[in-house]
């Protein structure tokens, strides 16, 4: 019984501290971010009419996505190899990585706090959110062959 309890608690701990497949999980989160960004971009580019309610839903989804971005669980030590484009800087400069990720979170938070009421407002918020993607990918992602 004690062994079982121990096993369960270890499993539970493992569940919070690390994900079973961090590479797949972090890729899925990034993919979703890209999709959400694309949804906003269609309005920014004028391919779809501005829709305040839909913008709000997308921003909420971005916020949820950012909330799931648990760096410790998604980028554990040793997850720098394999099918990944994560740069060594993630582990060499963890504070810088955290700050870069926070830029996205802050940009989304600011957009939600002052929800865009028209296209021009959306363009301004979208610019800040979009810049946060590049700011992190500049130093923390390596493009591989």
């Amino acid at each position: 019984m004690r062994k079982l309890l121990l096993a369960i608690s270890i499993l539970a701990l493992a569940g919070t501290a690390a994900s079973a497949d961090p590479l797949a999980d972090r890729k899925a989160l990034m993919k979703e971010r890209g999709k959400l960004t694309g949804d906003l971009s269609k309005m920014v580019k004028g391919q779809e009419p501005f829709d305040a309610a839909s913008v709000l839903r997308t921003l909420e989804a971005m916020k949820d996505n950012a909330g799931k971005f648990d760096i410790g669980a998604l980028y554990p030590e040793g997850s720098n190899t394999g099918d990944t484009t994560a740069a060594p800087a993630i582990w060499d400069n963890p504070d810088g990585f955290r700050d870069a990720e926070k830029k996205f979170e802050d940009a989304v938070g600011a957009a939600l706090a002052d929800a865009p009421a028209d296209l021009d407002a959306l363009k301004a918020k979208f610019g800040v959110i979009g810049a946060s993607c590049g700011a992190c990918h500049e130093n923390f992602r390596i493009r591989k062959g």
């Binding site: 960004t37 979009g130 993607c133 590049g134 990918h137 500049e138 992602r141 390596i142 591989k144 062959g145």
Partner: protein, 312 residues
């Protein structure tokens, strides 16, 4: 003289002749100053466009600089390459630490020939091998614009290079091999738009400096022009921007122009690596310029990736 002595003497003469020829061939040359006097007086407003197209701020402003700080050209950005570490110099208007005392001819010699006012070769980390294709008028306009920028005091550290790359005179031979003011890609029946894009990409934009693989001596392999390359810094790759396998065949011209403007790929991945800085500059150009670049990229020969396949 013995036979051995005669052969030795002959050999000595040959080495001396070779060295003399090498010394002669490697001499730094300034451009004929008449090409600049033929240009109109520089126009700073037009020069701003060239400043952005040329990506000057990416290396000569502080890393990560935003807004007005991108016009503070104190240098200092390091480029860590297999040849050693290059340090971008101060090109602000400071009279002693920057280029505040330069004449237009000095500036043209640097941009078009890679030669300093005191007659030394610059290292081609400064992409004059691309800038050599620029129009004298654009050089004059850029110079006029740079003269409107603030002086910033401060000398940068020197380059830190390994032998034999630390011998500047050798660059003269490199220039003989790789420098040309002629277009890289000949395109039959090219439209004005494609030609405008070719000028921006091959000249001021110096896209080939990173997107084209280099040979053992650091010269661009123009047979694989823009096919992508192993990154000069770090352990990543620079993507293939031709329409060959691994490249951007499935991007439309609007996709390319949109990427340069917003930093997003057609499937909403974002710009990354050193392209982040480049894209910031491209976003400052007109849509007409970005569309011209896109048209050129769709018109050039397709090549498979210029870098090795990813190791599992």
């Amino acid at each position: 003289m013995s036979r051995v002595g005669k052969v030795g003497a002959l050999f000595g003469v040959m080495i001396a002749a070779g060295a003399a020829a090498g010394w002669f061939l490697s001499a730094p040359h300034r451009p004929d100053h008449r090409i600049m006097t033929a240009a109109e007086p520089g126009n700073a407003e037009r020069g701003l466009r060239i400043f952005h197209a040329g990506g000057c701020a990416s290396c000569h402003a502080a890393r990560g600089a935003e807004g007005e700080a991108r016009f503070q050209l104190a240098g200092g950005v390091e480029l860590r390459t297999p040849f050693g570490t290059f340090v971008a110099p101060n090109i602000s208007q400071d009279a002693s630490d920057g280029i505040g005392n330069w004449t237009l001819d000095d500036f043209a010699a640097a941009m078009l020939k890679g030669v300093s006012p005191d007659g030394r070769h610059y290292y081609p980390a400064f992409p004059y091998a691309s800038y050599a294709r620029m129009k004298p008028q654009d050089i004059a306009d850029l110079f006029a614009f740079m003269q409107t920028l603030p002086p910033v005091a401060g000398q940068t550290a020197g380059h830190d290079l390994a032998f034999p790359f630390n011998i500047r005179r050798g660059i003269g031979l490199w220039k003989l091999l790789y420098m040309s003011d002629m277009p890289v890609v000949e395109i039959a029946d090219a439209s004005d738009k494609v030609l405008a894009g070719r000028y921006l990409v091959e000249g001021p934009g110096h896209c080939g400096e990173c997107h084209t693989p280099r040979d053992f001596a650091g010269g661009p392999d123009t047979g694989r022009w823009l096919a992508g390359a192993v990154a000069a810094e770090g352990d990543g790759v620079v993507p293939n921007i031709t329409s060959g396998e691994g490249g951007i065949a499935d991007w439309s011209e609007a996709d390319i122009a949109g990427y340069l403007e917003t930093g997003f790929t057609p499937d909403f991945d974002s710009v990354g690596g050193s392209m982040v800085e480049v894209q910031k500059n491209m976003a400052e150009l007109t849509s007409e310029d970005r569309e011209a670049i896109a048209a050129y990229l769709k018109a050039i020969p397709a090549h498979p990736n210029g870098y090795p396949a990813r190791q599992p």
